[in-house]
Amino acid sequence: MTDTQANDIYRDGRFLADGWTYLADDDPVPADGAVFLSLSRFLADLAVLRGRNAPTGVVVEAGEDVRSIADEFAHVAAVAVAFPKFTDGRGYSTARILREDLGFDGEIRAVGDVLIDQIALMRRCGIDAFAVSHAPTRAALEAGHVPRVDHYYQPAGRADEVPTGTRPWLRRPA
């Protein structure tokens, strides 16, 4: 992954120390501590991971099918959705499928090329944490300056968006 091992994470309006470690596929899985594994590693090591007593997360790369972990949510504390380039929009579908179709309620974080102008879109798709290395994006987030349009022409299945106006597909932030 590119630059995503920043040691903090933007969540709930601020940067927090990130307690998660991203493991390479040949790193041993520690007994303790929150770790992210690749999707293929997670599926391969499922038998062991099911018995693990610390948080396990899964990194879903663009192009990987998040539905392949749908039966294992009991053992998934967080999902990292990868955006290899900000113009690669596959992660938006991954996030919506996770939240709306599969009902995943743990953390979904965006990792990779995470830029300020996409934060609002990512949020609407169910992403609630952001690993940010891009300096102007970090500065804008710290200043609370997130460009967004808070009139939505399509329901995105989120509890914090409420119907508005006469058209049944319109939404506003709650």
Binding site: T87, G89, P155
Partner: protein, 551 residues
Amino acid sequence: MYRYDEFDQEFVDQRIAQFSDQVRRRLKGELNEDQFKPLRLMNGVYLQLHAYMLRVCVPYGTLNSRQMRKLAHIARTYDRGYGHFTTRQNIQFNWPKLSDVPAILKELAEVEMHAIQTSGNCIRNTTADHLAGAADDEIADPRPYAEIIRQWSSLHPEFTFLPRKFKFAITGAPHDRAAIQVHDIGMQIVRSEAGDLGFKVYVGGGQGRTPLVAKLVRDFLPEEDLIAYSEAILRVYNRYGRRDNKYKARIKILVHETGIDELRGDIEAEFEKIRHGVLQLPADEVRRIETYFALPPLDPAATSARFDAKSAGNPAFAAWAERNVHPHKVTGHASVTISLKPIGGVPGDASAEQMEAVADIAETFSFDELRVSHEQNLILPHVRLDDLDKVHDALVAADLAEGNAGLITDIIACPGLDYCALANARSIPIAQEISERFGNAERQRAIGDLKIKISGCINACGHHHVGHIGILGVEKKGEELYQLTLGGSADETTSIGAIIGRGFAGDRIVDAVETVVETYLKLRANDNETFLAAYRRVGDAPFKEALYGTA
């Protein structure tokens, strides 16, 4: 036509504020061009060969005279006094300054217009039959559905960074004037045997390097599922469309490589998960939106006595009316093509003064309504037959009375090397030369229906693949070379034209077109057999023979 409510207006205003901030950050250097590019593209700002270009959305090609006057004002104030109407029924301005774009967008917002998603890898302006709501062969007006698609697709959080751009087209009539089979999604309004409204859905058509005719993905989609099914298609495309090569990234390639049957299975599976949810369209809301597009109060008792008399007494008027006036669903009325193809002119261009003249005519004679056609003309949808001579007089005064709709000089051409950063060859000068060559009114009429379409590069913005005669400009060893394709069509019998043989130099291509036309005139079965019908009957051989001699 659709009118903004408070929500729509606030949406556009917020979007302008957002983009103005992005422009500010770009001008300050906080955003580099790579980071700014997708943002400006989402707002219709291109960096062209010589300058920025701003493309303004005309949703499904419908606008009123106030909006047209605003476009004229923008052309005069921020550009060089003209605009260019496009094959997506939009208008583009070729010379705005980037620092002026926020001000232009504010001016547009005053008349309920915007430039959102007129470029970028997102869902573009949905195009529709330019005779929508007026044509006598229509099952239902496609524009309410196009408007619903416009709304649903506006800043869609999931579908803003697709593999490539994505285009919907929709027609309400069995005779396809919207080229739906060369779109990413093409919809045709149909009625089920039970009498319910719905859509035939085509997917994966397109032009560009790999021209493909769309496949029928669903025979009948109920009206209430319009958005859910669209979302299902877009989700499958967003996840599985190729991103390794921009020339293989359109959904047509996914359809072609996956196969329509397997892809249909994926789409239907996604659709089943969401079809009964919040995306289901309530019928009463669709009916409410339809009221925005209600037919104006036309007089069903309108007569044509004056029209008949004027036609008999004025051959120039009669000749214009024969080509540019189209049947209307209400007796005594017609739709009118205002040709933006003057002989020797630039296809699709209109000056600020012409836009204002057209706005005046629409206000007086067409219930304040105008259309942009994908063939780069303007349309007055609802005119009384007995007003047509006055309309014609006004068009003559504005230099807009060319009676060539559907004829050989009614050419679609991309901007080509005169403007475009991608082009390999000039398109506009070729169009102008063809127009001059065949400009004689009697000659054009003798030739009859013939669509020439010209692209200045393989991206095919000039739709050459579906021209009855298509011309593609390529670059070969530093020279502009033009390939001819024959037999393309974009109607309900859509076909991709076939390359007839080796290309022609810029100073020979118009002669080659003339050879093709003369060959057709000699071999047609009778005066009513069109070029396309004749070509389909006889095939390539006589044209090859005429162009290249026996091998």
